[in-house]
């Protein structure tokens, strides 16, 4: 499968990100307060929040999907299908084409870890 070449930052997803969510339960949020990568991931995920809710917690009962707690692989597959046009959309094909595959993985991992 090929994707249109996308401009933009290409950050490697930190492998510990999934573990970070579990670890934060033990350590409390203050342990992550000065983590640059965590801050960047949260800011990137916040670009989805106007429509899908802060940290993916969309307002219940509305037409836009809640992302918090969705399985990561499912979410990533949908985002990639929007990007190729495989899944029809009104707007998400236009949005997802602004993000690199690494960025889509990063936000999918983040939202999957939200309760």
């Amino acid at each position: 499968m090929t994707f249109p070449r996308l401009a933009g930052p290409r950050r490697t997803l930190h492998r510990w990100l999934t573990g970070a969510a579990a670890a934060s339960l033990l350590l409390g949020s203050s342990a992550w307060a000065k983590d640059p990568q965590r801050l960047r991931t949260r800011a990137l995920a916040a670009t989805c929040a106007q429509c899908h809710g802060t940290d993916g917690h969309a307002v219940p009962g509305e037409a836009l999907v809640r992302l918090a707690g969705l399985p990561k692989d499912y979410m990533l597959n949908q985002l990639l299908a929007f990007r190729t046009g495989q899944r029809p959309a009104t707007i998400m094909h236009q949005i997802t084409r602004g993000y690199s595959q690494e960025q889509l993985e990063e936000v999918a991992t983040y939202f999957a870890a939200q309760k």
Binding site: G8, S30, V59, I91
Partner: protein, 437 residues
């Protein structure tokens, strides 16, 4: 924002030279619940001026992204948040003011933002203090100003007086004026003419005037079908979603909407509800809705931050810090925008998140993200159910020191749809929650 006791020259001097404000030092700590008295001495203090889409979002997200490690005080005179997006549906009778009004209590109760209902009289950039109309002074480590827009009344002769007399409204800041314009439309006879005059871009909400014309037409179609809508545009063509709007006008309101480009308003007569143009003939209307030429909110202008032609505020797009003053950030409609960046509520919310992350990083002593991203979505109703959108994704480009839209991304609706109508309703509910709750 008001300046009651200092003129502009004094304020500029205060900003640039750090001149002391009379009596200000003595009031530190006296404001109940403010940063100078309520916060931990070791915590960094951010003061946010303005509680619109930009200000409220930056207040909430600084609290979130710092894990409540930074104290935030938001200064906003209004007791509740009234949304400009969706306010055109109040004009058409499809929504109430209550539907577009939300409290600020989520910011304080859930996120610990201190809210002070007052106005900022002056900013002292050297002392890093703001002085409120009420006389109190609040110190800050970082100041964020999100004052929205102000009207440049002098560009259209007679407009300020006609507006003051309630004869010609703009209703471009949602609130009591939205209700007043609705009342004018309700009072108009069937067979009357509603005219909206649009200034040259840039102005707040590029598609907003065309959405308004559509929604007024929707109201007329239901209740006053002999009436007309005149769009008097200071621009050479519809500035946003032009093909989609024109298709909607032709299909939904045949013969009702008259679109006239190249109509730059220069004067009005409030008594006869007449608008005069640079070139074209005068137009008289039964309800005349003139959007003034706009610039950065008054506080930004009076503090010398509007350094782009004395109209908008240049910022460093990496963190939205003013290029005119250190530790003062400017968000939302007040800034000199990057290419392809509209003045919208969604964009102000996006600015706020980039600024919040940068401010948190800076105050925590970690590197600011060198590649921030932001998005914009503007949904416009063309009747009570059908909506069209324009969307864009933007990335910061370090070599150009600005945001640019990402090639291949973004675009407009293929066609108006009721599915997007449902999404627009959900968008509003979600962005209000993301901004305020």
């Amino acid at each position: 924002m008001n300046s009651k006791s200092m003129d502009r020259r004094q304020l500029l001097n205060a900003l640039i030279k750090g001149a002391a404000f009379g009596g200000a030092a003595g009031s530190l700590g006296l404001l109940s619940g403010c940063a100078s008295s309520g916060g931990s001495a070791s915590k960094a203090q951010v003061v946010v001026v303005g509680g619109g889409y930009g200000g409220a979002t930056v207040a909430k997200y600084i609290r979130l992204l710092s894990d409540h490690g930074i104290d935030v005080t938001m200064i906003e005179p209004n007791r509740s948040f009234v949304s400009c997006p969706v306010s055109n549906l109040v004009l058409s009778g499809d929504r109430s003011m209550a539907d577009i009004t939300n409290p600020y209590t989520g910011l304080s109760g859930k996120h610990g933002v201190r809210i002070v209902h007052d106005r900022v009289a002056a900013v002292d950039a050297d002392k890093r203090q703001v002085r409120l109309d009420g006389g109190s002074t609040i110190s800050y480590d970082k100041l964020v100003i999100a004052p929205g827009i102000d009207m440049m009344w002098d560009n259209i002769q007679g407009l300020q007086a006609a507006h003051g007399a309630g004869q010609i409204l703009h209703a471009w800041k949602a609130g009591p004026e939205t209700v007043a314009l609705r009342q004018q439309l309700e009072a108009m006879r069937d067979g009357g003419v509603y005219a909206i005059a649009i200034p040259e871009a840039p102005y707040r909400c590029p598609p907003g005037p065309y959405e308004r014309a559509s929604m007024v037409a929707a109201y007329f179609k239901r209740h006053k079908p002999k009436s007309k809508v005149l769009i008097l545009d200071g621009n050479p063509d519809v500035t946003s979603k032009g093909k989609l709007f024109k298709a909607a006008w032709k299909d939904l309101y045949p013969g009702m909407i008259d679109y006239r480009p190249q109509h730059k308003a220069v004067a009005v007569d409030g008594r006869t509800r007449t608008v005069k143009f640079e070139v074209q003939d005068d137009v008289r209307a039964d309800v005349l809705n003139v959007l003034p030429v706009m610039r950065a909110g008054q506080l930004a202008v009076q503090t010398g931050l509007a350094n782009a032609n004395n109209r908008w505020c240049h910022v460093n797009f990496l963190n939205f810090e003013s290029t005119a003053a250190k530790n003062i950030h400017v968000l939302g409609d007040s800034i000199q925008v990057a290419a392809g960046m509209p003045k919208s509520g969604h964009m102000a919310n996006s600015h706020a998140k980039v600024a919040a992350a940068a401010i948190v990083a800076d105050l925590q002593g970690i590197e600011i993200n060198p590649h921030p991203m932001l998005t914009n979505v503007c949904m416009s109703y063309v009747d009570d159910a059908h909506v069209i959108h324009v969307a864009s994704v933007h990335e910061y480009v370090p070599t150009q020191k600005t945001f640019r839209t990402i090639g291949g991304s973004g675009g407009v609706s293929d066609v108006r749809s009721d599915l997007e109508g449902r999404y627009a309703h959900a968008w509003a509910r979600n962005i209000w929650a993301d901004t305020l709750m």
